[in-house]
């Protein structure tokens, strides 16, 4: 494990320059470049705000009088979900997309997921920045609990990297995974209170929903930005623990698989 991280450290310049390249590449050919990455979730949030705000804005707890509450709620959840899915989706295909490099060149393979994670992180920091800007321009001032956001983002990142690396490694061998995961993520999006508040979910279903780690993460984002309350520490602590276990498992799996990975690519 140590050697894995040590070799990644030796390649730190390459990782950094690859993230830069990845970011710059999007600006070379298109005028808005990397901005397209954040326009997509923002437009999606705007659509839901437009269609559902009349129905749902009154349902948010303690916020029935605030017109901006629903858009802010939506944007907070969108940010959390976007980090989660972007890291997973990119880790899912990272080895397959770079099969040429993996087959011909020698470099620590662990660099690849690190590069996509880093580049996803930059995208989402941009998204965070624009979301904060938008809600401030709209006239909503977030409370001091936004200071938890960086920590929340790191936890989300750890969770999604653990899951993404496991799925990405398996996807090299079992390509069906690449098809299933987007569907599962789509379902997950609807089963997580992002466009609707948890309070409208039937009492019988709620305990099941709470088994979903993203339920807690999305809720913590909403708490930090909209409700100005600290995260649910117990749940978040558990999720951090689960994430670290998943990450550890993914690295073990990755090490097992990496010797055979090139054989099947």
């Amino acid at each position: 494990m140590k050697s894995l991280l040590l070799s990644a450290w030796r390649y730190r310049y390459f990782i950094l320059s690859s993230i830069k390249v990845d970011f710059r590449r999007r600006f070379v050919r298109s005028r808005l470049g990397g901005l397209w990455m954040i326009i997509n979730p923002l437009v999606q949030a705007a659509m839901f705000a437009l269609i559902l705000s009349q129905v749902l804005s009154g349902r948010l707890p303690d916020m029935s009088d605030n017109k901006l509450a629903y858009p802010v709620y939506l944007l907070s959840g969108t940010l959390a979900w976007n980090i989660f899915t972007e890291v997973i989706n990119r880790c899912l295909t990272v080895f397959i997309e770079n099969s040429n490099l993996l087959k011909k060149l020698v470099f620590p393979r662990i660099c690849l997921p690190m590069i996509v994670t880093g580049s996803a992180m930059i995208n989402n920091l941009l998204l965070l920045g624009s979301i904060l800007l938008i809600i401030i321009v709209l006239g909503f001032t977030p409370g001091y609990n936004v200071i938890w956001l960086p920590l929340l983002m790191v936890i989300t990142l750890t969770l999604s990297l653990g899951i993404g690396l496991i799925l990405g490694t398996l996807n090299v061998f079992i390509r069906d995974i690449g098809q299933i995961v987007p569907i599962v993520l789509q379902l997950g999006w609807w089963f997580t209170p992002i466009v609707y508040p948890a309070s409208i979910v039937p009492k019988a279903v709620l305990p099941f929903m709470r088994l979903n780690p993203m339920y807690w993460i999305v809720q913590s984002f909403q708490n930090a930005i909209l409700f100005n309350t600290p995260p649910t520490w117990i749940a978040l602590g558990c999720i951090t623990l689960i994430s670290l276990v998943l990450l550890r498992m993914s690295l073990i799996l990755f090490r097992r698989a990496s010797s055979e990975m090139v054989d099947v690519l």
Partner: protein, 406 residues
């Protein structure tokens, strides 16, 4: 001498096939899952390379050359055995790998050198050298998608050879760009060798192997079957190919895009064909200018009033170098009966330039094969001409010069 640059010990590579990929994944967890098939591509490979040595690896397609190279470079793991490398490996197998067409040559140079594991500062120190060696002028700061493929190769080669590796792996792709740059890159490779880098060269080209290497390794079916002097190994290799050709049927693939085609009534057929050298042994590798005999044995299947043998020697592009027939030489054989065997010994000096050539044969009853074609056989025999001891020359004809300088 000091430590070997590369030490390969009892290396084997087996590709395992499981009932499903799920079974493969489960096998990592320690469950007793047996693979359904094991495909052994390399076995018992051992050799060592000393600093400054140049070793050629030859073998037919599928002999395991690329797998061996991948394991030596480290992209694939051996199933058993060890590969120990003393120093950095540079590989010209992957010229231009990881280049991004949207970025400039300079940016790509930084990026690929980073991929080779060098730090920003190290690359900084050689970037000027890379730029100078590539000689692409102001294009160095233009996006790579404006480059010609030759220019891209120039930059790629300059990056890969910017730092002297302990072992440089070179494959046929060495034909980088134009003749000028090829010459320049060969010089750099030779410089590396003189400074103590070892070379590992993969090629089908007997000329390259014999002119660059001081040792050759022949792989066949995943095993080292010869390891020694290049000339001896190449002879063995050519015999191996010839053997394979004899074992196959009349319509067959000779290489990637050549099919040996046989046509005609079959009333007479070429039973065997061989090129025989001065010592009387069949050979597929001929030195420029050597006296050889093309021996063609014809088997007559039906009673024939007259038979003419024609033959042509073609280069690898199919251009005829020379051709004639026994009608022109007034040696047509008459009144043959079924079961007769006719042997033709065609002696000539191999006044051809280095390269690959093929022999086509025709058995007819007159001057051309239009009238009565007994058998027409393309690519009946393939041989190679190498320039072993003549002065270096270009072209496909050997016109021995006597140059007087006054």
């Amino acid at each position: 001498m000091n430590q070997p640059v590369l030490q390969v010990d009892n290396l084997a590579k087996t590709y395992t096939q499981y009932r499903s990929e799920l079974a493969r994944v489960l096998s990592w967890t320690g469950l007793p899952i047996e693979p359904i098939a094991q495909h052994c591509v390399l076995q018992g490979i051992s050799f060592a390379i000393e600093p400054g040595e140049a070793i050629g690896i030859v073998g037919q397609n599928g002999a395991g050359k690329s797998t061996l190279l991948k394991i030596v470079t480290g992209t694939q793991q051996p199933t058993t055995g060890t590969v120990s490398v003393n120093g950095r490996i540079g590989s010209i197998l992957e010229l231009g790998m990881g280049f991004n067409p949207d970025f400039t040559g300079r940016q790509n140079a930084f990026h690929s050198a980073g991929l080779m594991g060098f730090s920003q500062a190290e690359i900084e120190s050689v970037i000027d050298r890379i730029e100078r060696f590539a000689e692409v002028g102001t294009y160095f700061d233009q996006p790579v998608n404006t480059y010609s493929s030759g220019m891209q190769m120039r930059v790629a080669f300059s990056v890969i050879t910017a730092f002297r590796p302990a072992l440089l792996i070179v494959d046929e792709a060495l034909s980088v760009g134009d003749a000028y740059f090829q010459h320049k890159s060969f010089n750099r490779i030779r410089d590396f060798q003189q400074q103590g880098s070892a070379l590992l060269i993969v090629s089908h080209d007997a000329n390259v192997i014999q002119s660059l290497c001081n040792r050759a390794i022949l792989l066949d079916h995943g095993q080292v079957i010869q390891d020694g002097k290049p000339s001896a190994v190449m002879d063995y290799y050519n015999a191996l190919i010839a053997d394979k050709e004899r074992a196959t049927v009349s319509v067959k693939k000779v290489d990637a895009d050549n099919l040996q085609t046989t046509s005609g009534t079959g009333e007479a057929i070429v039973d065997s064909i061989a090129l025989i050298d001065a010592t009387g042994k069949p050979t597929e590798l001929v030195n420029v200018g050597d006296l050889v005999t093309l021996q063609v044995c014809v088997n007559v299947r039906k009673n024939l009033p007259i038979m003419v043998l024609g033959y042509m020697i073609k280069d690898r592009l199919g251009q005829v170098m020379y051709g004639t027939n026994t009608w022109h030489t007034q040696q047509a054989v008459k009144d043959l009966s079924q079961g007769d065997t006719v042997t033709y010994n065609i002696q000539f000096s191999m006044n051809l330039g280095p390269g690959n050539y093929s022999v086509s044969t025709a058995l007819v009853n007159a001057e051309t094969h239009m009238d009565q074609n007994y058998e027409w056989r393309d690519l009946a025999y393939v041989f190679e001409v190498a320039n072993v001891n003549k002065v270096k020359f270009a072209g496909s004809a050997w016109l021995q010069p006597v140059i007087e300088v006054s």
